[in-house]
């Protein structure tokens, strides 16, 4: 697969429901998560439900599609700021839907796609955007494991790796 993407934003939150905070750079700890983030600290909404959730990613293209709106399915038109979707990394030019089970590079680190993220009514209620749950179905991003840790920075290239 040939593609080349970019890391646009890095966000973490110290615990469930606390607003995300933007970082210029962050340290990824292999097998655990992002320093300062709830899923490394075990204080996330879903921390008690073990799964691959060390880092979560979403495509900027999805947020742009939501902002543009799709009148037929299901009529949602909403501006979701990168600080509000509660995924850690916002990407551009990365085909997240194709990366389940695949390894890829973010700056100096290596991630492995775990499973597609599934949107939660929790987010819809937290942000007060009715219909956001349906609006994110099938494009809610990718939950990843960290294979090789290190520091990631805003603007880092995101590149495929041969398996």
């Amino acid at each position: 697969m040939t593609w080349a993407g970019t890391l646009l934003h890095i966000h973490v939150a110290p615990s469930a429901s606390v607003e995300m905070e933007e970082l210029a750079e962050a340290r990824l700890i292999p097998g655990r998560g992002i320093e300062g983030d709830r899923y490394l600290l075990g204080t996330g909404t879903y921390s008690q439900k073990p799964d691959i959730r060390e880092v979560t990613l979403i495509e900027m293209e999805v947020l742009e599609a939501l902002a543009q709106g799709e009148p037929k399915i299901p009529g949602l038109k909403a501006v979701v700021d990168p600080a509000d979707h509660r995924r850690n990394l916002t990407t551009r030019g990365v085909p997240l839907g194709h990366l389940v089970g695949r390894r890829f590079r973010v700056g100096e680190t290596v991630l492995r796609g775990g499973r597609m993220n599934f949107p939660c009514p929790y987010l819809e209620e937290l942000l007060g955007v009715p219909g956001l749950y349906e609006g994110l179905l099938n494009r809610s991003g990718l939950n990843c494991a960290i294979e090789a840790g290190g520091v990631i920075r805003r603007g880092d290239p995101i590149l495929p790796l041969a398996d």
């Binding site: 606390v18 607003e19 209620e125 937290l126």
Partner: protein
């Protein structure tokens, strides 16, 4: 319970008010508009040491640029307001939840009497501003011991205009009014909203005993004081059928927590409504001050309320 965003807000402005009250204006460093509040709503303020306190928003709910809270320093309290008086410094930041409302006025109806005792003026001032903007008839009555210690009266007059605020002050005899006389004749469809210390609200309740129950709205910010209550053991049955024994010296919330099924809790004194859950069957002994008589038919506050025999919870 609906989850609420917890935001790190800036303390933009702090002002002193009579009665050892600090007025704080809280703004978001990034968002020009805060999550919307309805009149009567409160926010949870996180004190940074694990404690959380609730403060009513007294600003105009139409103004979403800031949350305005009033914090009375309670020298004899549990220490939350004393700590908050230290934390409320311009330029500081504070973790604050999005608002929630247990004290909402019905949107339709007749004229509204707003009865405030002391610092209890806060949610009523928010209501008054909405009523004024909507052209609905209302009057705000503020009861306090002395003018020198009564917060927000001038602010209310400034925001609401002349003829809409009456201050009834113990130390100014010509301003005093007897509650039974004030509440003697409710207009058709009239609504009474009241917030203040427990003794004040009990007096209002007595004076409004002839009003229809659905016309009365009370907000307590102090837990129920009832020293004669003797807790008895009871039993909880969860939706799964699991049975839990609640001993006399422990709260239902405690027991639910130990079983790993507790709802999120905050004040643990029956005031805030965070831990409310539904019940399907049984005879609860309600000891909270947040549920209305109607809501008590199906809801239960496990932090303070108990039951006779067996209570089936929707958990």
């Amino acid at each position: 319970m609906v989850p609420r965003l917890i935001m790190k807000l800036d303390v933009a402005e702090v002002r002193h008010e009579p009665g050892d009250v600090l007025l704080a204006t809280l703004t978001h460093p990034r968002r020009p508009l805060l999550p919307a509040a309805t009149a009567g709503a409160h926010v949870d303020v996180h004190l940074g040491d694990g404690r959380v306190r609730h403060y009513s928003l007294w600003g105009d709910p139409a103004d979403r640029s800031a949350y305005r809270i009033a914090v009375k320093r309670e020298a004899e309290g549990r220490g939350g307001s004393r700590r908050l008086h230290e934390l409320l410094v311009p330029g500081a930041s504070l973790m604050v939840s999005a608002p929630r409302n247990h004290f909402a006025l019905p949107e339709t109806g007749g004229p509204v009497r707003l009865l405030a005792g002391g610092i209890g003026i806060t949610p009523l001032l928010a209501m008054a501003q909405v009523l004024a903007a909507g052209g609905r008839a209302f009057h705000l009555h503020v009861f306090a011991r002395r003018r020198a210690t009564a917060p927000l009266i001038e602010e209310a007059r400034r925001r609401l205009g002349p003829g809409r605020v009456s201050a009834h002050l113990d130390d100014e005899p010509d301003t005093r009014v007897a509650l039974p006389a004030l509440l003697a004749a409710p207009e058709p469809g009239a609504v009474l909203a009241c917030c203040g210390p427990a003794g004040f609200m009990a007096a209002v309740r007595d004076a409004a005993a002839h009003w229809p129950e659905e016309a009365l709205l009370f907000e307590a910010f102090q837990p129920l004081a009832d020293e004669s209550f003797v807790p008895e053991p009871f039993e909880i049955v969860l939706a799964s059928g699991r049975r839990l024994a609640v001993p006399a010296d422990r709260s239902a919330l405690d027991v639910l927590r130990e079983a790993g099924v507790a709802p999120p809790a905050s004040c643990e004194t029956g005031v805030c409504g965070s831990c409310l859950c539904g019940y399907r069957d049984g005879t609860p002994i309600h000891r909270d001050v947040v549920l209305s008589p109607r809501a008590r038919r199906g809801r239960f506050a496990p932090c303070v309320s108990r039951a006779v025999g067996t209570l089936h919870l929707d958990l």
